[in-house]
Amino acid sequence: MRRAVIAFTAFLGGLIFLLAGPAHAGPADCQGLRGTLKLQGQPVNGAKLAVTTEGGQPVETVTTNAEGTWDVQVDKPGKYKVTLDPASLPQNAEVRGGNNIRTPTVYEGNCSTVLYALQPKGAANQQQGGGETSTFWAQAAQLTFEGLNLGLIIALAALGLSLIYGTTGLTNFAHGELVTLGAILAYAFNIGFGLHLIPAAVIAVIVAGVLGYLQDRLFWGQLRRRGTGTIAMMIISIGVALFLRYVFLIFFGGQTEAYAQYTAQPGVEFGPISAAPKNFVAMGIELAVLIIVGIALLRTRTGKAARAVADNPALAASSGINVDRVIRIIWTFGGAIAALAGVMLGLSQNLKYTMGQDVLLLIFAGVTLGGLGTAFGALVGSLVVGLFIQVSTLWVPPELKSVGALAVLIIVLLVRPQGILGRRERIG
């Protein structure tokens, strides 16, 4: 079945190529209708076409020549009616879809082309008739894959956000820009310094980690020391987001860019799924990072200290935890992970100075859905968001795909106000 479709497509491709050459070599000042009739790549000679005005006034009746072409010049621009006489077609040919009447419009000084797609008799509409259900499931499989792909990238970005939120209580609206930063840094090393993307990405992630460290050291940490409240910090982060985004615009420009390697990597078929090899590698890396960080947070001393700081910084300090140090580590990792997410996003899609901002809402949705401040929550929530966005397009128009995911967010929170993995606080 599948094989047949592919073969047929290849055949069509050939057909198109054959058609492409001479079709529009007509005279520049042409006013009328024309067309070419072909059956399986071979011109159809002697097919009869009757051209009438819209009202039915006969204009001309023509027969296709040896190249299969026909041409009717008209005096007045306007709507015309073209009828192909099916009887004049070769025995084995028929018009696909069966409709042999066309109603094209002729514009002043221009020729309009009229198309009759011919097919061997009985070759029932292969194009659409390929069994709706199998297409549905193939599409569903592809979309599920896309959902996982997107979900994992979101999860990575969400993890960075969740780490920082969890430790400092900062709702960081500039997180999208940290994602962008990673992508742009990798771009700079990749294009600017001519490194291969892989080392470029590694360096970018490291640099972003260092920048994350410095950001806390020189900025957020200072604010904390001044006793700036979390709401003020949140608004400050909006300022930071604006600042960074437009700095990117100045240095990177407003256009879309791609990395030097792996762009438009041709897809490979895996059963019903068609995907680029880079997607699989990226997903593997993402999953590994997510799980390692998640476990580290649960098991390592620093991870626990991070959660302790999140709960109560003063008490953490009283327990001998160097709060500033823990927060700095988190910022370093958070920045690096966000950057990695950026590289992955840039790899999977393209780079733009607003790329992070564009996914910020999804990141927030993922974090919230999973339960704020829980590492694995971010993973679960983001996967749900990613899957919903993609799979929902089976039923809703793609332009509304975010609606599905956001609606799910609202519904889940209705049932579990604390998020999927979140815990309710006790009262009293």
Partner: protein
């Protein structure tokens, strides 16, 4: 450099249509966030449903202007209730995300091709403001005065919008002032601090939150009307998350939970934005700034706005009118 133009546009921006509409939206937000502690990040949606309510009623259904205003108001109330029922039981930060999500859903529906015949797709709707301008008491011409060499003049249409707008601002500020001094406002502020405590004192938290949500939404929806009427058009992307962000910025800038905070914040925001931009374009054009070209000035202004916002909050975290003591109380305990 053309200082006269710079001054003129800057001063005009302090009272201009943008200032008015953002101020109104921010007043509503102040009721939500400043007083009740509802982190509503969907304020733009309230403006949106109002603007579209008006636009669709007049252009698509062909009904009179006043009916449009009524429909817009009703739409805001309905949105508040629809949004409130599922969300008001959520913790503040969850509420924030859900309201963003809801607002995005509203915006995406406005801009979708599916409903293009009703909402006009991404271009929105226009041609519904005639009813409003028909009421314009100002005859055609320019109004204002010259401040020395600086002309501060508005056309009659703008003048009419501004008059209505500032009257609304005064009205809403007064209402908020009255309410927040009253026991009703006290309950809201208490909810902001600790819902359970308020519950234990016999107040229906849900009902008060809902009232606050509706009130803030209805106030905010007038911002949507002013937008629609001021520009004689509505477009979906104007009612995106950014708009809400800017309103928050203004609110915090002016001072949350202060009656005039949002108004002052909005004025400062737009003045700074316009001033930065004008000065920089002029400076680039005149060759004083050489490291930027004109294309980058637009970006530079947002950089400066971001920077200004950061600095303001660092040095005055409570906002211009805010109370330092309130900030010093750690919200965590």
């Amino acid at each position: 450099m053309d200082w006269i133009t710079i001054l003129s546009t800057t001063i005009k921006a302090a009272v201009g249509v943008e200032t008015v509409l953002y101020a109104i939206g921010a007043i509503g937000l102040n009721v939500h966030f400043g007083y009740t502690g509802l982190l509503n990040f969907g304020q733009a949606a309230f403006m949106g449903v109002a603007g579209y309510g008006l636009a669709v009623t007049v252009t698509v259904m062909g009904l009179p202007f006043w009916v449009g205003i009524f429909v817009g108001l009703a739409a805001a109330v309905v949105l508040a209730i629809l949004l409130g029922i599922p969300t008001l039981k959520l913790r503040a930060d969850y509420l924030a995300i859900v309201t963003i999500a809801a607002a995005e859903i509203v915006r995406l529906i406005f801009r979708s091709v599916q409903f293009k015949s009703v909402f006009g797709g991404s271009d929105g709707q226009r041609g519904f403001s005639d009813g409003f301008y028909a009421l314009n008491p100002f005859p055609e011409g320019e109004y204002g005065f010259n401040l020395g060499p600086v002309p501060l003049l508005f056309g009659h249409r703008t003048m009419w919008v501004l008059t209505v707008g500032w009257v609304l601002i005064a009205l809403f500020s007064f209402v908020v002032y009255l309410l927040m001094k009253s026991p009703w406002g006290r309950v809201l502020k208490a909810i902001r601090e600790d819902e359970d405590a308020v519950r234990s004192l016999g107040k229906s938290v849900f009902s008060y939150k809902m009232q606050a949500l509706v009130l803030g939404g209805v106030i905010g929806c007038f911002g949507g009307f002013i937008y629609g009427l001021g520009y004689a058009s509505v477009q979906p992307d104007v009612f995106g998350t950014e708009t809400t962000f800017y309103m928050y910025t203004m609110l915090i800038l002016g001072g949350a939970a202060r009656v005039l905070g949002p108004v002052l914040g909005s004025m400062i925001f737009w003045v700074l934005l316009v001033l930065f931009y004008n000065v920089m374009t002029e400076a680039v054009a005149a060759g004083y700034i050489t490291f930027l070209d004109t294309n980058q000035v637009g970006a530079m202004r947002w950089i400066l706005v971001g920077l200004g916002l950061i600095l303001l909050l660092i040095y005055r975290p409570q906002g211009i009118l805010g109370d330092k003591r309130e900030i010093a109380i750690d919200a965590r305990r």
